[in-house]
């Protein structure tokens, strides 16, 4: 093949290689800038990805919703429609297998299982990774543990998530209305 043709194909490849991360950035920026921000109560762990570094795994209190649709199975993708409670926390308005034509914010989640007795669908919210600087992931987890004990009703830990058109971006993790970064710095000052 002539060099020029190879080069033209290469240029096409180059454009795709640039477009994919650019599109990822564009979508996420769009959600951050004009998406609705929800608070999701959380519960945490500190693993590590060989290519992308350390992160904190977040578990959310919001992990089930009522549904009478008993055909829902494990690994199905379902759509949950969201609304805010009086404190700004997200809760599930409704759950369905297909997309409705509403302007309500939604996200797609993978079903863990369907509980026939309580007619509840169990799922995990997809934004479960919060990437942190490697030196901060461990302290973040410790701080998190301190504030996020089971049945602790005084301290509130939650993730701030922007949502638009079914796409979600995890912005920050908060403990009592202050970013987790604030606590890490305070800890470092000690």
């Amino acid at each position: 093949m002539k060099t020029i043709y190879v080069f033209l194909i290469f240029i096409a490849v180059v454009i795709i290689q640039l477009l994919v991360p650019a599109k990822m950035i564009y979508n996420k920026e769009d959600v951050l800038n004009s998406g609705t921000v929800y608070k999701f109560k959380t519960q945490p762990i500190d693993p590590n990805d060989p290519f992308r570094g350390k992160y904190v795994t977040l578990r959310y209190e919001l992990s089930s919703a009522k549904s009478i649709d008993s055909t829902i199975q494990r690994n199905d993708k379902v759509i949950i429609y969201l609304e805010k409670d009086s404190l700004g926390y997200a809760k599930v308005k409704s759950l369905s297998k297909t997309k409705h034509n509403t302007s309500r914010d939604f996200i797609e989640v993978e079903v863990e299982y369907y509980d026939y007795h309580s007619t509840e669908v169990r799922f995990n919210l997809p934004f479960d990774r919060y990437y942190m600087e490697e030196s901060k992931a461990k302290p973040a987890e410790d701080i998190y543990r301190k504030f996020n004990r089971r049945n602790d009703s005084i301290n509130e830990t939650y993730a701030l998530v922007a949502i638009k058109n079914g796409d979600a971006v995890l912005k920050d993790v908060f403990i009592n209305d202050k970013s987790i970064h604030y606590y890490i710095e305070k800890e470092a000052e000690k």
């Binding site: 290689q17 994919v20 991360p21 992308r52 934004f127 479960d128």
Partner: protein, 431 residues
């Protein structure tokens, strides 16, 4: 290398073995040959260097620099990618040497990984390692063709295997089969075919031979869902495919160390049979219900057809029919498995007989062709089978000891007799 040739030529001229004119022509021949290809060492170091730099960048970015703003992080996400793309376009446009193409391609491949890794960190993009790897591989795969890069092909196969393992081997619960792995692999096949046609004896092609075979062996297990017993059939059929693939002229005409398919096909079958030579395994299989309409069965059936097609095809070009029992292992295995899933005893006995036959066949093959490696491979098969039997039978120690002595003597004798025979033949041909 160059000066050695010159020295040799000077010596040959001095002793009037060749004329200076011939020496000049020899010299010119090697000069032009050398100028056409880049130094392979240079290529290898180029690839290694780029791969290390690329991985280094990924690791540095994985630190997740908190002090940088989102904008700066975004710039850093694109910087390595654009540098890699510029280097690669330079090597295409200037039609640089293979070393240039391989190195720039390798760097670009890792730069893609760095770029999407940083973007997922900045935006906390969900998704586990496998989905990240998939995006990376898909974006990197075309580089194999535009840069004609063996290194990128090797990385793509390697990372596809990594992806399939991450996706398919979920420890604990949840069974997902990494079907996309095959799509990725098929994406590299045209390049592999081309390499096989163009330079079947190149070291890089031999690396690809091994990589494909190993990758498939590693990944196949991810397709086993609930019917683990059929997993044995799947692997036996895969080894059948490999062995028969290795019998094709293009692989069979090569040295054994390049023919990964024959080596792994044969060795894999033997290991599988060794595992199944234990009665306990068959007892477990016997309790299992063999589900015919299952993914494991369908995978096995596809593999059976590929193996059969290869078996038939490998027999066509050779004028006279040459029987090689190893080519039929997968068919015999099916019968043994059918017997064993009904009655564990039958399964155990027939597996052991099968091992014995293969061992003897390999010994005979080795003796006929004067290849010590095959002869000893056969003896090793028999010896291993006997050692295995020590674990599950109540033989007296004296009997076990005697058996060991007999097998040990067998090794000596078989090798000694063959050595003698070889010498005798050499002697004859010399006289």
């Amino acid at each position: 290398m160059k000066s050695k040739l010159k020295n040799d030529l000077a010596e040959l001229i001095d002793h009037n073995v060749i004329s200076s004119e011939v020496a000049n022509r020899i010299n010119n021949y090697y000069e032009t040959k050398r100028s056409n290809q880049s130094n392979p060492l240079f290529t290898i170091f180029g690839i290694l260097g780029s791969a290390l730099v690329g991985l280094g960048i990924i690791l540095i970015l994985a630190h997740n620099w908190d002090d940088f703003s989102r904008t700066i992080k975004t710039v850093f996400a694109f910087l390595p990618l654009i540098i890699g793309q510029l280097l690669s376009s330079y090597s295409i446009l200037k039609n640089k040497s293979q070393a240039w193409k391989e190195s720039s391609g390798t760097f670009l491949f890792f730069a893609i990984g760095a770029s999407i890794a940083l973007v997922s960190q900045v935006y906390n993009i969900p998704g586990d390692l496998s989905s990240y790897l998939l995006t990376w591989i898909v974006l990197g795969l075309p580089l194999i063709y535009v840069l004609n890069s063996k290194a990128v092909a090797i990385f793509v196969i390697g990372f596809s295997t990594y992806y399939a393992c991450e996706y398919g081997y979920s420890f604990g619960y949840g069974n997902k089969s990494p079907w996309l792995y095959f799509v990725l692999l098929i994406g590299t096949i045209p390049f592999y075919f081309n390499e096989l046609k163009k330079s079947p004896k190149a070291n890089s092609t031999a690396i690809l031979n091994w990589l494909y075979a190993l990758s498939l062996i590693i990944v196949l297990g991810a397709f086993i869902q609930n019917n683990w017993a059929l997993g044995f059939v799947m692997y036996a059929m895969l080894f059948g495919v490999f062995y028969n693939l290795g019998q094709l002229e293009i692989f069979n005409s090569q040295q054994l160390r390049r023919n990964s398919y024959v080596v792994l096909g044969s060795f894999g079958s033997v290991v599988l049979l060794m595992i199944l030579s234990f009665n306990v395994i068959w007892e477990e299989i016997q309790y299992e219900i063999i589900v015919f309409n299952s993914q494991e069965m369908w995978v096995s059936i596809v593999l059976i057809f590929i193996a059969l097609a290869l078996l038939v095809y490998s027999q066509i070009p050779k004028g006279k029919f040459k029987f090689n029992v190893f080519q039929y292992v997968f068919i015999i295995f099916l019968i043994v498995f059918a017997l064993g899933s009904e009655s564990a005893k039958l399964g155990t006995i027939s597996t052991n007989i099968m091992i014995l036959i293969f061992g003897v066949f390999a010994v005979k093959l080795g003796a006929d062709t004067f290849r010590f490696s095959i002869l000893n491979y056969g003896l090793l098969i028999i010896a291993t089978a006997i050692v295995c039997r020590f674990f599950d039978t109540d033989m007296s120690f004296v009997l076990r000891g005697l058996l060991f002595v007999v097998v040990g003597l067998g090794f000596f004798l078989a090798n000694y007799i063959m050595l003698k025979k070889q010498k005798a033949i050499k002697h004859q041909t010399l006289n």
